[in-house]
């Protein structure tokens, strides 16, 4: 069937595609091209080096285990959040994005305070249960940190999707005598499958390109491709190997994305059902589910609590010094302007990123929602590729490529929101597209039979059904921008310091006040995210109690 189309002839997709061409593909190809022209060993030398394959193997192992380890708890949590009404539901949901914005240096400190040699949990396990825990620089620690960072995204996306496409079939299935087992395998998981696949893909991509976590917490035995690219480029100043490794990473991730694309053709037909009202927990099973999720949440929040504790606890005493220094500029830290001003920069960048990623990703998802041509697959694939790209390589690409008018952007204000938009775009598009494709064809047919114009179809049919996904995507973009550090660091930037960068600068100098301010600023970043989330939910009137 023909689908209604807002933009008449289909040229609207040119805008996001042009953005990607100019701000992603062009810089990337420039840096790769320049690097290959330089003297040194080639791809063959790299491919025959055992170290390369060790790194590739490790990266794949880390990424796949991270997906499994993240999805299991996320599935449990989203089941509960999509199904039950309980005290504190909104509060817990609003906390869900917080780990997303935690700067990695701060996360490293928090995890060490909990799980280090003398960490609270380590000591407790030893005293209470006699268990010796040695997680320092271990693979397990990396997986734990990946769960910490990815679980919020996963549970958030799954909860919204489940809530929208939910449990309508279940009463019917129960009438026919379906067991719990059958419910899960034949009804819940199949309904959830498109989003489950999208989420797995995102978590896989994030873990595959994991940089800060592995660099700071992995020690020297654990090296991902992304870290190796950084080591070659910045440590050995070996651009050529760095470029080849970047290509290898692009090829590997590109293959994974392509495989996903092939899979998803099977789900083009919508499976949407009416959202069911949330129900109170009544039975023992209900309460067991709730209890399990509560324990999960406490575990997730522990690093945040450790952070708040260390922001208030200086040299063995309680102190507000860190927070005091944030507002008034005292001669007591290395910063030359009150860090609170960086908060305003960060907010501005976050808003621009949200607008940019939502509009570009929205247009693209709208165009792709029912396209079945080979082009659609390619475009979809292309828009995932920023996730597969090494940030340090791309950062160098910006410097080389965007240096002439009219594209003299490399030290401009716009470079940071552009980079953040590139990071957020794949997630936003994935979220919107998955939700869009869940709208059943029958609804479009009905709308066409009723003589609705494309605009009316969009406003009256698609938009209301997508509102939840749009809010989630927007908030994810907002949070990604607030917490983004890797790509921002690799951009030469004029006087626009973001909060994570200020935290990084504070933690680059010795001294109790610098440390305390870095911790306090991180806490403020968390609060900002939490309030931003609540605010947007309030504005979007998403409270579906």
């Amino acid at each position: 069937m023909r689908f209604p189309h807002l933009f008449g002839r289909r040229y609207a997709w040119l805008v996001p595609v042009l953005f990607l061409l100019i701000c992603f593909i062009y810089p990337l190809f420039t840096i790769l091209w320049v690097s290959f022209n330089w003297a040194g060993g080639g791809m063959l030398a790299l491919l025959t080096d055992a170290t390369t394959w060790y790194v590739v193997g490790f990266t794949l192992r880390l990424a796949s285990l991270s997906v499994v380890a993240t999805l299991l708890p996320a599935l449990v949590a989203s089941f509960v959040f999509a199904r039950y009404q309980f005290w504190g539901r909104e509060f817990f949901l609003s906390l869900s994005l917080l780990p997303f914005v935690m700067p990695i240096s701060v996360t490293a400190t928090a995890f060490t305070a909990l799980l280090g040699e003398r960490g609270i949990i380590t000591v407790w396990l030893q005293h209470a249960l006699g268990i010796e825990l040695d997680l320092a620089q271990s693979f397990t620690l990396l997986i734990l940190v990946h769960i910490f960072y990815n679980y919020p995204l996963a549970s958030r996306l799954l909860t919204d999707y489940w809530r929208e496409n939910g449990f309508a079939l279940e009463p019917v299935a129960r009438v026919y005598g379906a067991s719990a087992w059958v419910l899960w395998w034949r009804i819940r998981l199949p309904i959830l499958f498109p989003m489950l696949a999208s989420v797995s893909l995102l978590v896989f991509a994030f873990s595959f390109t994991s940089f800060g976590t592995v660099l700071l917490l992995g020690g020297n035995r654990h090296i991902t491709l992304e870290v190796e690219i950084y080591r070659q480029a910045v440590g050995f100043l070996n651009f050529q190997d760095a470029a080849w490794l970047s290509c290898l990473q692009l090829i590997l991730m590109g293959t994974v994305f392509a495989g996903y694309g092939t899979l998803q053709r099977a789900w083009l037909s919508g499976t949407r059902h009416r959202p069911q009202p949330l129900r109170p927990s009544v039975t023992l099973t209900d309460n067991l589910w709730l209890g399990g999720v509560f324990i999960l949440w406490v575990a997730l929040l522990l690093p945040l609590v450790a952070l708040i504790w260390s922001s208030l606890h200086l040299g063995g005493e309680w102190s507000w010094a860190g927070y005091r220094g944030l507002f008034a500029l005292e001669r007591r830290s290395v910063l030359t302007e009150p860090p609170i001003r960086a908060m305003l920069h960060s907010l501005r960048f976050a808003l621009l990123t949200t607008i940019g990623a939502l509009s570009l990703g929205g247009v693209m998802a709208y165009e792709l929602r029912r396209m079945r041509s080979r082009w659609a697959g390619w475009l979809d694939w292309l828009f995932m590729m920023p996730l597969a790209t090494s940030t340090v390589t791309l950062g160098f690409g910006f410097i080389l490529a965007l240096d002439e008018p009219p594209l003299n952007l490399r030290t401009s204000f716009w470079m940071i929101p552009i980079a953040h938009t590139l990071v957020a775009l794949p997630i936003v598009m994935r979220t919107l597209l998955t939700a869009w494709r869940a709208i059943p064809n029958a609804l479009y047919e009905a709308s066409r039979l009723a003589g609705a114009s494309p605009l009316n179809t969009f406003l009256k049919l698609e938009f209301p059904l997508l509102r939840g996904a749009i809010v989630t995507a927007g908030m994810l973009a907002f949070a990604i921008s607030l917490g983004e550090f890797g790509a921002t660091l690799f951009i030469a930037r004029s006087d626009f310091q973001t909060v994570p960068l200020i935290i990084y600068r504070l933690l680059g100098q010795p001294g109790g006040n610098n440390y305390a301010q870095a911790m306090s600023l991180s806490v403020l970043l968390l609060l900002l995210t939490a309030f931003g989330w609540l605010g947007i939910r309030f504005l979007a009137n998403q409270d579906q109690r």
Partner: protein, 353 residues
Amino acid sequence: MRKFLWVLTVLFSSGLANGVGAQSLPFEGVTLKVLAHDSFFYTPDVLEQFEAESGMNVEVIRAGDAGLMLNQAILSRENPLADVMFGVDNTLLSRALDAQLFIPYQSPALERVPNEFELDPTFHVTPIDYGDVALNYDVAWFEANDIPVPTTLDQLLDPHYKSLLVVQDPILSSPGLAFMLTTIANYGTQGDYTWLNYWAGLVENDVLVVADWTTAYYTEYSLYGGERPIVVSYATSPIAEVVFAPDPLEIAPSGVIASASSTFRQIEFAGILVNSTQVSAAQAFIDFLLSESFQADMPLNMFVFPTREETPLPEAFTQFGVPVEESASVPYVDIEASRETWLEEWAEVVLRP
């Protein structure tokens, strides 16, 4: 008019009018871009005064740490990101010079800078500040555990000091590289016992290697709740601990192991980037970096020492500073020539034992 000024500056700077700097020249409407690493700190007033006096507008562009910044400068050599670069040090100097990144400029203010700092005889770079990478120790920890503080690098191999030291990966971290060079200067690369034997000994004694200074200092160092009471940092770090203490301190909580040759001197340079379009303004800025006001402002901001002679040091430096009498040194040309080999050898011994 501007052309005339430019000619004038060239004349001055080529030595025809010795003693007259470019400072007094107005640069009305000129925007000068300065590429710097993320640890470039200064008191805003000092820079504002320079801007007011020179008429130029200085825009500081930050580009990560010194290594990252240098990479960006090399990549953008043809169409530079800025006019002046601040913060390339002697461990990276040779790479910058090999890439022909700078145009020469002999600032008149160099007269006040001891010759030992001007490593490049062709004046492509100007020494602005220096400092020493040194082992810091947690004073309270050593008192509480009643263990004498080690005084030499050799002692770190002693089983008494097992599992006490945390260092940074020299491949990724500038102080980490400096500490590796310290061991090279001390133990040499030839003979029966080389620096690699020393590192094998450190590994035996359970040295902890982490990626960067921040992790070493704020996560692993016992002063901030870690497990290791000895950390590779700077000789001035204890001063920063006092200056940035939440409550006033009588003594510094960290000490420095400053015995002969256990420290490594880092000199930071500034240079005018080749292809800059603001050469005369850039020269004036280099002069400003060596001026009394900026030199006196540096210590409390970046915890480095000014290269300009007789610059008064702040009280915190005179009171809490630990004099470093003799630093280890490796000629900067050798560093560039062998860096990659050394790093690979180091990785071979330390990362894959």
